[in-house]
Amino acid sequence: AQSVTQPDIHITVSEGASLELRCNYSYGATPYLFWYVQSPGQGLQLLLKYFSGDTLVQGIKGFEAEFKRSQSSFNLRKPSVHWSDAAEYFCAVGAVPGGGGGADGLTFGKGTHLIIQP
């Protein structure tokens, strides 16, 4: 069964500091990996996604993520956070389109709550 682990429930960083949010996944085939951000009471905004190509993926808002197959990880990074980055961040894994899967949809981690200190 597919699963996603986000080991950090809360992370606090100072504005301007660098950020890394951890994500480990378990998936039986080629994974399709995602990071979403969610502000309170709002929907899911896609930050970036990966299933092939360069293992360092660039997303919106200055975020990037690196896929490491050997570690089953897809950590999210940002060199310098802004107060507006405070939100809940979710990592998710699912089937690659056209790969024959998809019935189970995406499996999400429990999320990491990012707090920005002034």
Partner: protein
């Protein structure tokens, strides 16, 4: 990103009432999904729909839930007799052939 439109954005209903949540994905999807997110918790898979049939469903998707495609384009999630614990954000999503997963903006259901 291709769009998925959900209506209503917010619905308040009394316990025991039936609710219908609606979603209109763009065409050419492989799968269609409904997810639930209880406040402060993670997004949970409810059900997937493929070729006008339910493909997979989770333990959450019990007999009080049903999903339909009433007119060939809209997808609906019906909750027959709502309970307080059904209060959550409900997301629909699609999996396209070449453009991956796309989520709707969600419907916030409040059961009082």
């Amino acid at each position: 990103e291709p769009e998925v439109t959900q209506t209503p954005s917010h619905q308040v209903t009394q316990m025991g009432q039936e609710v219908i949540l609606r979603c209109v994905p763009i065409s050419n999807h492989l799968y269609f999904y409904w997810y639930r997110q209880i406040l402060g918790q993670k997004v949970e898979f409810l059900v997937s729909f493929y070729n006008n049939e339910i493909s997979e469903k989770s333990e959450i998707f019990d007999d009080q839930f049903s999903v339909e495609r009433p007119d060939g384009s809209n997808f609906t999630l019906k909750i027959r007799s709502t309970k307080l614990e059904d209060s959550a954000m409900y997301f629909c999503a699609r999996l396209g052939q070449g453009d991956g997963y796309t989520f709707g903006s969600g419907t916030r259901l409040t059961v009082v």
